[in-house]
């Protein structure tokens, strides 16, 4: 169900531990979608590199779930309002 303006966070307080091996597998699938040559890259290292930030990405999703839906999209560039 889509969020509502006052909906409380519904995801766990602590995001699940990111699994580098699972990330590596997912990343390789996407690399194939984009037609990337894969033979030069250590994909296990990519998975490990991503693991930490994936945890925080889950945190992002949780945090913004409390934000109201907006009539305008989020800004893609910093504010010039001040």
């Amino acid at each position: 169900m889509a969020e509502r303006n006052s909906s409380p966070p519904s995801t766990p307080a602590t995001p699940p531990e990111a699994d580098p091996a699972a990330i590596t597998k997912r990343v390789l699938v996407r690399a194939a979608v984009y037609g990337m040559r894969t033979e030069h890259t250590d994909w296990d290292k990519v998975g490990t590199f991503v693991a930490r930030s994936q945890q925080t990405t889950a945190t992002l999703a949780r945090e913004v779930s409390g934000q109201p839906l907006r009539a305008i999209p989020p800004r893609a560039t910093p504010s010039r309002s001040r």
């Binding site: 990330i23 997912r26 990343v27 996407r30 690399a31 984009y34 037609g35 990337m36 040559r37 894969t38 033979e39 030069h40 890259t41 250590d42 994909w43 290292k45 990519v46 590199f49 991503v50 930030s53 994936q54 925080t56 990405t57 945190t59 992002l60 999703a61 945090e63 913004v64 934000q67 999209p73 989020p74 800004r75 893609a76 560039t77 910093p78 504010s79 010039r80 309002s81 001040r82």
Partner: protein, 452 residues
């Protein structure tokens, strides 16, 4: 060494106006110094000696005829090698771009040329503004002039090294999460990330369109103000005093990090200096670090991969190991992740807008450590930017100013950050701090004069 290569931009400009020095003389002295030192420092990827001397002759004619075109007329300036100069390769520090010749000047170069600046060369950098240098890869990274076994930081590494050692009067770098301010702190120069797009990004090789900033590095806050004015075309007038200024320090964030003790001591002493100048210091809270880091990573990861994907997909062997892995990490982010990061960016902007109602500027350390030894860096590179990245998210002005040295003689910087458009204000604080200290005046011995 010619003293001309150590002079401030203000001194040189006055000397030109009074004919005590000439642009050709200063440009030649700078080129001679590059020839003498840069074999060791490696701060340049390309030196544009012939065209620089042509530009210096033209500047000399104009200035000596009483026609000043701008604050950088006749001043030898360098550019990070992500910035297009027509007819010159913009390598981006990457094999993939090494032979790609720019067909037109970037906006910043056009602006600098119109103001009479002398473009002396293109500075070394970390690959595409984000890859870490690895042994055996091109280009060989620049070295820290305070200790050649240490790194100068990145990604605007060559810019900081060249400015510190007088291999240019000022340089322009790019900063997506701290890539100007970090090297400035590691090398002991002033480095500024101006307000977003105050200096045009057109013609600058992008990493992340919405986080990239082009900004100046100089030896003093006044020099950086002149460099900012010269590249943006806008007036940058600094104030005379910071008495009564409300300065916030994110003390809880500072206390939560595992920074080297010398960094903390230098910061405490710096805030004491600011208090002695009449500023009112108060502790403030910034948005949660985990959120700002996640926002930054998701945006850089998504935009960086989108930008470089065509080349990375076809020619991965033309990217360094680190750049390849870091760009490929962007594959992990989904469209939802990117949109959530933009939503969080809105929240962070609103929180800092609110914070800047109660304080005029924020001060903090710049990085968590002094410049590490190259061998340590290659084994375990510092990867966190808890103090700098948030200002890329928000787009406000932020500057690193020299604020001390550790026990090994390595420089330490202090960051002064402000709201969108507060460029002159943060430079005013930096200059007031400089006037009360002498950290910015210290210089390392030239490599060639050192004893083993």
């Amino acid at each position: 060494m010619s003293e001309l290569t150590q002079r401030s931009i203000g001194w040189l400009s006055a000397a030109y106006d009074e004919r005590r020095a000439s642009p050709v003389e200063v440009t030649q002295a700078t080129l001679d110094r590059i020839a003498a030192l840069d074999g060791e420092l490696l701060s340049y990827i390309s030196v544009l000696a012939d065209s620089a001397l042509d530009e210096a002759r033209r500047a000399e004619q104009e200035l000596f005829a009483g026609r000043r075109r701008g604050p950088l007329d006749g001043i030898p300036i360098a550019l990070k090698d992500l910035i297009d100069v027509a007819g010159v390769a913009t390598t981006g520090g990457s094999l993939h771009h090494r032979d790609v010749i720019a067909t037109a000047d970037s906006d910043i170069v056009a602006q600098l040329r119109a103001g009479g600046a002398v473009i002396i060369g293109k500075n070394n950098l970390y690959e595409l503004g984000m890859g870490l240098p690895m042994p055996g890869e091109w280009p060989v990274p620049a070295r820290n002039p305070w200790d050649l076994e240490r790194i100068p930081g990145g990604s605007s590494s060559g810019s900081a090294v060249a400015v510190l050692t007088g291999l240019c009067a000022g340089s322009y770098g790019t900063d997506t999460g701290g890539s100007i301010r970090g090297p400035a702190s590691y090398c002991g120069v002033v480095g500024m990330k101006p307000t977003y797009d105050l200096i045009s990004r057109r013609g600058v090789l992008a990493l992340s369109w919405t986080l990239d900033h082009v900004g100046p590095l100089g030896r003093t806050a006044d020099d950086v103000a002149a460099l900012l004015a010269g590249a943006s075309g806008s007036s940058v007038e600094l104030g005379d005093s910071i008495a009564g200024l409300r300065i916030g320090a994110p003390q809880a964030l500072i206390d939560s990090t595992d920074m080297e003790p010398a960094i903390g001591r230098a910061f405490d002493e710096a805030t004491s200096v600011l208090r002695s100048l009449g500023a009112r210091l108060q502790a403030v809270e910034l948005p949660e670090l985990a959120l700002t880091e996640a926002t930054l990573l998701a945006i850089i990861g998504s935009e960086g991969l989108a930008n470089h994907l065509p080349a990375l997909a076809d020619r991965p062997d033309e990217f360094g190991v680190s750049a390849r892995e870091r760009l490929s990490a962007g594959l992990a982010y989904t469209g939802v992740d990117y949109v959530n990061a933009l939503r969080m960016r809105d929240v962070v902007i609103a929180q800092l807008d609110e914070l800047y109602r109660s304080v005029d500027v924020l001060v903090s350390p710049v990085v968590l450590q002094v410049a590490p030894k190259k061998v340590d860096f290659e084994r375990n590179p510092p990867h966190r930017t808890p103090f700098t990245g948030i200002h890329n998210i928000v787009g406000g002005a932020a500057v690193s100013v020299p604020a001390g040295f550790d026990g090994a003689g390595m420089p330490i910087g202090m960051q002064v950050a402000g709201a969108y458009g507060a460029d002159a204000l943060v430079l005013t604080v930096a200059r007031s701090y400089e006037q009360a200290t002498d950290w910015h005046t210290r210089r390392p011995a030239d490599p060639s004069t050192r004893t083993a």
